[in-house]
Symmetry: C2
């Protein structure tokens, strides 16, 4: 049994390309359609209603493209819209939060886990709720790091500015006793070196995007929905706007050149 | 002669509230309708076509509210959409770029002017073109400062992080010989102390927003379109999304509490 339909991935912008990259690494035979809502990014500062409305609209768009599974590669959209998407769609839906949580619960020995993300993700409490569902004795310390996304998009991945900002957000964890830190935003894997430098290498960093690729692989195998072994996967990138520097920043996030980009105009705001 | 219709002001988000504040200070009798396109901000990283489309849509919305003049309190939208708006609308349209340029040309003695703004504003060359139209012997040095907006919105107005970022962008001006620096983004007036600290007090800072309020005052007086002396101006704030922290950050930018906020859903994306 095989299923040649594409995997749909969506994000508010380019951050989710780090998830697409992890999925391509694990599932090189799969066709991927990546949808970046670049005309309306960022989601991290917007209200739940608005983010939820955008997520449903994009899910419908990808369903018309006949995707076999939907990966919500955006922590904010995963935090606020996942249950509703799971309920309304007939295909499997995978967010980035639960995979990150499962990875962190496996990694921790002290049962004390840190979470960093956008303001919207942290205020939603989605990570701490999901962590407590896995293990109710866990201690969870969450910190919003709103300047990390602009830092990563600017390519300011190290140096004095990145370090000063990382200290501002992460010094809280110094006395918190965590041994595991969830990178709860798809942009953050690019800041791994400076984050490690500030929190110390003894704290395990869990990248929700990579964990999502593992879970997706298991899901497709279990449901016998993987593509044929012989095929070579294609990546199609669709955006609602072609931002300045998208090719440059996007290629860095994806780890390969971005050749084929389509522009999409969604019918309604 | 008087004209009691409101003044329409629009911006991608909350930055334009600094312009609304300057206008209220100069024209306390005028009713203002402030439109912040918070569901689709920021404009500074989006393409010209997209920003222009949004600007036209919002202009039409404000026209239906019977505004007597339209102030485009967004540097990016002023840079890419102003000529087209002026052409298609029958009311006067005022951007923030020309007022900033006029203020800077008055202020400079060395004929060497610096401009800072978002990536979109700087890449549009709108400031340098407008400066050269005023005086073709001017030397203009422009620098994009993409981290300044998130800094201002985070309220990180001084301290080591703000200074390190300011040095990164502004040290270029050290050897450039400018005596005047245009703050070509409505968020930047909040960073005035750290900008002054880095470039030195001998460089005059020109705030496009305040200059726009002067020009608007002259325009309304010339055209006999000011409101009645007896009336007390009202401020109506309309947003396409109510972002987290809007009241807090918005009140700081406006300089007074934000009580009356309306939510608007635009018909088409």
């Amino acid at each position: 049994m095989s299923d040649s339909r594409p995997i749909g991935i969506f994000d508010s912008g380019i951050g989710g390309l780090t998830v697409a990259r992890a999925i391509r690494r694990e599932l090189p035979r799969e066709d991927l359609i990546y949808f970046g809502d670049t005309a309306r990014l960022p989601y991290g500062t917007k209200s739940e209603q608005t983010v939820s409305r955008y997520a449903h609209q994009i899910a419908q768009f990808l369903l018309r493209r006949d995707v076999k599974v939907l990966v919500v590669a955006c922590n904010t959209a995963s935090a606020v819209a996942l249950p509703a998407l799971e309920k309304s769609l007939e295909i499997p839906v995978l967010g980035v939060i639960e995979p990150g949580v499962i990875g962190a619960v496996k990694a921790t020995k002290t049962n004390c886990i840190g979470v960093i993300g956008t303001v919207a993700t942290i205020e939603s409490n989605a990570y701490s709720q999901a962590l407590h569902e896995q293990n109710h004795v866990l201690e969870v310390v969450s910190v919003a790091c709103p300047l990390f996304v602009p830092l990563a998009e600017e390519g300011l991945l190290d140096g004095s500015i990145a370090e000063a900002i990382a200290h501002r957000y992460l010094d809280t964890f110094g006395s918190a006793g965590i041994d595991t830190l969830i990178l709860g935003c798809t942009h953050y894997p690019y800041l791994t070196p400076v984050i490690e430098k500030v929190v110390g290498r003894r704290i395990a960093l869990v990248d929700s995007g990579s964990e999502t690729a593992h879970i997706l692989t298991n899901l497709l195998q279990e449901k016998q929905m993987t593509a044929k072994d012989s095929s070579e996967g294609r990546l199609t990138v669709l955006l609602t706007d072609l931002p300045r520097r998208f090719r440059e920043v996007g290629a860095r996030f994806l780890g390969q050149p971005l050749d084929d980009i389509g522009l999409v105009s969604l019918a309604h705001d």
